[in-house]
Symmetry: C2
Subunit: 445 residues, 2 copies
Amino acid sequence: MNKNTLQNLINDKKFTLIKDKINNMNIPDIAELLEELDSSSALLIFRLLNKKIAAKVFTYVSRDNQERLLLLFNEDELNQLTDKLFLDEKVDLLEEMPSNVVKRILKTTDESERKIINQFLKYPKDSAGSLMTIEFIDLKKELTVSESLERIKKLGYHRETIYTTYVITNTRILEGIVELKELVLENDNKNIENIMNKNVIYVNTHDDQEYVASIFRKYDLLSIPVVDNEKRLVGIITVDDIMDVIELENTEDIHKMAAIEPSHTNYLNESIFDLAKRRIVWLLVLMISATFTGIILSNYEDTLESVVALTFFIPMLMDTGGNAGSQASTLIIRSITLGEIEFKDIFKVISKEFGVSFIVGIILAVLNFLRIHFIQGYSVKISLTVTTTLLLTIMLAKIVGGILPLLAKKAKLDPALMASPLVTTIVDTFSLIVYFRIATLILKL
Amino acid sequence: MNKNTLQNLINDKKFTLIKDKINNMNIPDIAELLEELDSSSALLIFRLLNKKIAAKVFTYVSRDNQERLLLLFNEDELNQLTDKLFLDEKVDLLEEMPSNVVKRILKTTDESERKIINQFLKYPKDSAGSLMTIEFIDLKKELTVSESLERIKKLGYHRETIYTTYVITNTRILEGIVELKELVLENDNKNIENIMNKNVIYVNTHDDQEYVASIFRKYDLLSIPVVDNEKRLVGIITVDDIMDVIELENTEDIHKMAAIEPSHTNYLNESIFDLAKRRIVWLLVLMISATFTGIILSNYEDTLESVVALTFFIPMLMDTGGNAGSQASTLIIRSITLGEIEFKDIFKVISKEFGVSFIVGIILAVLNFLRIHFIQGYSVKISLTVTTTLLLTIMLAKIVGGILPLLAKKAKLDPALMASPLVTTIVDTFSLIVYFRIATLILKL
């Protein structure tokens, strides 16, 4: 059903038909429809949804529309909604809503739950603790397979996943995991102890979400247990949440590589002022760095005055150097992110970039020489000055582009910051110095 | 266990101990160890693994080491390995191995399997068909819950996932899906027909993997059914394969945005010649485009000769324009990838970029004027020429950077190609024209 069909049904007041239709749609599709409706229609649709579906739909609605809906809900509706949310969803909501909404939500929770929520809010942003949910199924190793299946049947409806269950001691220390697959396929009277996997892969509440995502990828997990410093099981993280983390982390990296402060807000929803704020700082820093190029040029004022033609090649040299450097830095940054390259590989990177830049540089330099000398008719000396600088600039750019991200990693900075913009600025400065050195040498100025 | 401990145990010939230890490790960790060992040790370890674990480990080993191991295997070992592999894993292997290895593998398969394999090999690269596996569990809607669980118990060990089962008609048309969760939690004598979800989300064998990944993200799926043009169920794709696709697609985008031909080979394993080949084409194209800047400059030779100072600011203007443009294009490219922006939003993007670039441009221009005029002591006229150009360049860069990816999308090109390098080259050319126009106007040259 699309927005127009739905709007027509609303106008015709065919509520029973709407109710029947929307409750049979997929959750994310209902959420998408809600986003497109005006507030009163959205509220109407929301009221026509079964309570359980409504809560799920709510978690798929964008932050802005969540806030809009919450302000329209009466106390009863708010109670019903928060009652159906998983704890991690409730915490996410509290973190993102303005204080008036937060107060209304907190009123719907009892004291014991408020305690747990407060603890969740204390976990660092982007940590495993802030990502996890506490609605998982725990087992004891003394149970049999059929007893375990009974327990799962009893608890299952209120748990985010039942596909992995966690075996813990009386003091909640994590001892093993059992896949539901094994419980279903194994003999009913076997003991959990004999089928559980003791070699558990787990993360700590304070681990960064990027690390958690890398563990999911490496071990092809559907969920992972989260433990505290005493290895007590406190929560689990499921793969659907990790898929979102992976996309967010990729977005962050891509933004940083283009010298933008990362943000998770949808571009179209972000204000012009906020967008400007995310860009101005780096533009300013890079612009100030770029003024060095002006200082270098003014030092060679006499050279430029006597051979104006030298100026003509500056943009081409700078562009090519910038592109060559950004190719290298991008490859290395991505390889670091994927865990393929570490700091100890720095000499391999340097030798590779040396080889690559020499091949690429020679080809571009020769082609340029042909063009500058034979087609454009500049003297051999000028052509040689430009092409030698081109070769050296490309080599310098690729080596600098290869090294900087690794140095950043070593210094515990984000390698993504050492991308195209910064590398270009650095390479520009050096390539100008090289250019005029060579010019002075070859042209005997 | 790390490489050195293992190597010592191998040297001491403590094979029983090794066997015990490695068979209790996690699969990806065993694969990682194998990667670090020399061929004969790797083969030895591989022989000490249980057959089932060995096959799983093999799928985690890198392409190069897979080839190395396959060449060392005798016929028996090869048979045992391919027997344990899932069909999609076998197909992947056949696609990647050189022909002598392929021949040996094909010898181990019977004719009916070879038929299926051949069909798989026909699916386009990066399509849902080439990603899927045929080892899933299908049910009929007439079955009861307990009959279905029986069927799962019977088939489960040879299926990639049992967490989602697929309900099909006698002609294999997909009718619904049932989560194992529901089977476990529901009443034993209920009919599948009454608990299956008929609103099935599925993809076609020819759908692109990027589209499949976006569906997984949107609906938080653990697996998705793949159907042919008659909606007959032919396979499924599981979330672990999709996580790999997401990372590969991100890597591709990031590489393209830095003007590199994308590749899935580990940087350290790629030859210098291959690395150079992936970079040279774009560098060449961009360098040729950049020569326009030289032509423009030579047209203004007289202006440059009379006011050499104008040259000093060219690199700063070009760098800032490039950075401003790449910020805009990066934001838009990423938003397109995430499905947040479409071509129809182009006017919203233009108006946003207009606003953002005006704010950012004014701030940078004012700061630059202060520096150029008051600190560096250039005349008001020169300072005005530079700063007006700066403002116009930033505005042009951000609007061009915002529009180009959307136009590419409309023209069914990859928006990621309209990133920093191309935008920079275009903006450079235009900003030089603007610079000299303004200079002629203000300086009355």
